[in-house]
């Protein structure tokens, strides 16, 4: 069974998730603060850290930063009530391998945890929408690194299906490819999201908040 540590500053939510995931994954412990979380994760070495985005003392991004310094292979899945683009993009760029909202159902959450433990990426429909938004629009020709700054037609198609509410295996069926290939596309998008210098990513996140 996949082992997890839950990091969230809300006691009620930690115990809720613990109860929900009971029997689906192995919960090694939970932590309410950044320091506690870093200590616990380094000690318990879980497969996946379930991480709240907004916490006092730097939030999930800070936990990722401090843990990754000493345990670079640690995998994180962001779990948050926030659907603000800047929060989501920040935690993904810090190194989280996926992002789901707190309204997700327990079996889906357990599934997402397993997926992240396997090294795959987990995109919620909303995150897929953010990514499509962030990578939309052109860049000046010479500023583009096609390896990082653009999505391929296939990746775009996969993301659109995720945004439309399709599961990986349904997407595979519709596009006549294997589920593994779908996962590979999503992982490629995750990598671009984390490494792209496309300054649009940050600018877009800020603008989106300002204009609305």
């Amino acid at each position: 069974m996949t082992s997890v540590v839950i990091v969230d500053d809300h006691q009620l939510f930690r115990s809720g998730v613990r109860a929900e995931l009971d029997g689906l994954v192995e919960v090694l412990g939970d932590a309410p603060t950044v320091e506690d979380a870093v200590r616990l994760v380094l000690e318990a070495e879980p497969d996946v850290v379930l991480l709240d985005v907004q916490m006092p003392g730097g939030g999930g991004v800070e936990v990722i930063r401090q843990v990754t310094e000493r345990r670079p292979a640690q995998r994180f899945l962001a779990l948050s009530v926030s659907d603000a683009p800047e929060d989501v993009i920040a935690v993904i760029r810090a190194g989280a391998r996926g992002y789901v909202t707190k309204t997700i159902s327990p079996p889906e959450l357990a599934d997402a945890v397993d997926r992240v433990a396997d090294g795959d990426a987990v995109f919620s429909p909303r995150l897929a929408g953010f990514v499509l938004d962030a990578f939309a629009g052109g860049l000046p020709e010479r500023a583009v690194d096609p390896q990082l700054d653009q999505l391929t037609a296939r990746e775009r198609e996969v993301l659109r299906h995720i945004a439309r509410g399709y599961l990986y295996k349904e997407i595979a069926q519709r596009l006549s490819i294997s589920t593994k290939t779908v996962e590979a596309h999503v992982s490629a998008v995750l990598r671009k999201l984390q490494l792209s210098n496309r300054h649009e990513l940050s600018r877009w996140a800020v603008e989106r908040r300002l204009i609305d």
Binding site: D83, A84, P125, R126, A128, G129, L132, D133, A136, R160, A163, R164, G165, Y166, R209, L210, D212
Partner: protein, 403 residues
């Protein structure tokens, strides 16, 4: 009141439309709200009497931006790389012109013209501060209070140079006219008094300013707090109270919680209320919210891109609402996904539910829901609607509208 404040805020600009030569006189006249003829006569008189008018006119032309352009000719030159060469050249030209005028005898006297030139240059620099602040200044939404009153650094520098020129010009005038000796005695007394007063009053004044700043910050904070409290009271507390009274109806409680969540999110994101929205994405969100409330279902809305709402967009939103209602009727408890993508040439909307699904061919032709209000409406506005469904696989309605 209104016209007065409008003209007071009007920046000094050359009015090429009403001007005779370069629009300088007309611009000044408009700013001062007097007849341009008066300004022109003044220029002409001083030109004939000593030549100063011509110089002033050229100086004003260089420093005043034209109507509709943000930059004065001089500023445009200064923005260039070889600025100092140009400045030196212009200074040489100006000196040459002055010497020429002097040679011709079109001159009051050195004692008068030189100081006036200095004072004019300084005055022009200071007056240019009255223009609007630069628009590309970084927004500072968190601390708007303290910064708003201060000039930007380059403007402050210009003001200082201008003030120095004006004061210097005045001193030169006094000195050239041998009026400096008595003036110096008076000045000494004034300086002593000012220094003494500064020493006495400075601490008190500083305290006052600091106190005012703090008080204003405190006032803003408490206003914000009151606003947040009022909002939470009107929305979250009300909903919580309602939910406690409806504990026996889980569906209703879930719907209440969802509505409150949506509203709180919109408020946190600083969005306008959903009902006066006028873009495709916000209208789709509003439609989804309505269907959620009316049918007690959960709808996840993901929108990529956005555009102002036009006639076609309205039809698209109406068709989407119908598709959502359909999905809500058949989807059961599973959530409905609404995905909208606004591209430059078209808008696509997908409404997906995980209900039992059906065979589209076997829907009787008299069922108006899908056929009329979705397919028909889309086609009338130059779009199309497709229904993908199979028993056991849920339903997805695809709406495409070209823009």
């Amino acid at each position: 009141m209104a016209p007065m404040s409008a003209s007071a805020a009007m920046p000094l600009r050359r009015d090429s439309e009403h001007g005779l030569v370069l629009g300088v006189a007309a611009g000044i006249a408009r700013r001062l709200r007097i007849d341009p003829v008066i300004v022109r006569v003044a220029f002409a008189a001083t030109t004939v009497a000593g030549g100063a008018g011509l110089v002033l006119y050229l100086l004003a032309w260089a420093l005043m931006p034209a109507e509709g352009s943000a930059k004065a000719p001089l500023e445009r030159i200064v923005a260039r790389r070889d600025t100092w060469l140009v400045v030196a050249g212009m200074a040489c030209l100006a000196v040459a012109a002055l010497l020429l005028l002097r040679k011709w005898g079109l001159w009051f006297s050195d004692q008068f013209v030189l100081p006036v030139l200095l004072v004019t240059a300084g005055g022009a620099l200071i007056w240019r501060q009255s223009k609007a602040p630069p628009e590309d200044a970084p927004p500072a939404p968190r601390a708007p209070s303290a910064r708003a009153l201060r000039l930007p650094p380059d403007a402050a520098g210009r003001a200082a140079v201008g003030a120095a020129l004006v004061v210097g010009g005045g001193l030169v005038f006094l000195w050239l006219n041998d009026a400096l000796q008595p003036a110096r005695d008076v000045l000494l007394a004034v300086v002593v008094v000012v220094v003494a007063l500064t020493l006495i009053l400075a601490p008190w004044w500083l305290r006052l300013v600091r106190g005012l700043t703090e008080e204003r910050a405190e006032r803003i904070r408490s206003q914000e707090r009151a606003e947040v409290a009022a909002h939470l009271h009107d929305s979250v507390l009300q909903t919580l109270a309602l939910m406690q009274r409806r504990v026996d109806d889980p569906r209703e409680v879930a719907a209440l919680a969802r509505r409150q969540e949506r509203e709180l999110r919109a408020w946190l994101n600083g969005r306008r209320a959903l009902d006066d929205a006028d873009t495709v994405a916000s209208c789709l969100e509003a439609a989804a919210a309505e269907v959620e409330e009316a049918h007690g279902v959960a709808i996840d809305v993901v929108a990529v891109g956005d555009a102002p709402l036009d006639k076609r967009g309205e039809a698209l939103v109406a068709a989407t609402r119908e598709a959502l209602v359909n999905a809500a009727k058949f989807a059961g408890d599973a959530s409905i996904a609404l995905y909208a993508e606004v591209a430059p040439e078209r808008v696509e909307v997908f409404v997906r539910d995980r209900g039992p699904g059906f065979e589209p061919e076997r829907v009787p032709a008299d069922r108006r829901g899908v056929r009329e209000s979705i397919v028909g409406r889309m086609e009338r506005h130059g779009g199309r609607a497709l229904v993908h469904s199979a028993p056991g696989e849920g339903t997805e309605i695809e709406l495409v509208m070209r823009r």
